[in-house]
Amino acid sequence: DTAVSQTPKYLVTQMGNDKSIKCEQNLGHDTMYWYKQDSKKFLKIMFSYNNKELIINETVPNRFSPKSPDKAHLNLHINSLELGDSAVYFCASSQDSASGIEQYFGPGTRLTVT
């Protein structure tokens, strides 16, 4: 009964390729997030969607495009991958977008760009 799941768990690809990471939550939450954790373990928010609408868009390159087909899914597509995109990407969800609500995290996707 995984609450927040991500696929794939590991992704190794070459520079210039386009790849997608999928996220699904079965908690009935309204809000979903993408975070990037770099090699120094620094975790930073990238995007947030509430009821399929984008509500937070940090200064992320245009090569990153999130898509939310429904409340339970938030996918991340990355074009023209660069070495600096290598990181662990975490999806998360929360009941709604109000402040202070606990976020539930997925297991992460380790992306390695060679």
Partner: protein, 115 residues
């Protein structure tokens, strides 16, 4: 800009030792504060959170944290650690007036507990 500092990057303790992990944030307004834990190979999980009220917050697995507003701190404590507490610990802060939840994380503290 809002930021969160965790000064201890690596901590090594023996079992039964007491633990205190520091967390400081820089923001003058109202904040909500969190500690998350990431056990090896697992998801981030919420340990405890502070919204308002009693500044001493108790969480799961015997952890507690104290919010000291004057020091902009939210330190995590446990009186006696166990080998199973080996993990990465993240402090996070959320502004309560942004309307949308946006967590700002510290850089994490890696705790290794030796048996």
């Amino acid at each position: 800009a809002q930021s969160v500092s965790q000064h201890n990057h690596h901590v090594i303790l023996s079992e039964a030792a007491s633990l205190e992990l520091g967390c400081n944030y820089s923001y003058g307004g109202t904040v909500n504060l969190f500690w998350y834990v990431q056990y090896p190979g697992q998801h981030l999980q919420l340990l405890l959170k502070y919204f308002s009220g009693d500044p001493l917050v108790k969480g799961i697995k015997g952890f507690e944290a104290e919010f000291i507003k004057s020091k902009f701190s939210f330190n995590l404590r446990k009186p006696s650690v166990q080998w199973s507490d080996t993990a990465e610990y993240f402090c996070a802060v959320n502004l309560s007036n942004t309307g949308f939840q946006k967590l700002v994380f510290g850089t994490g503290t890696r705790l290794l507990v030796s048996p």
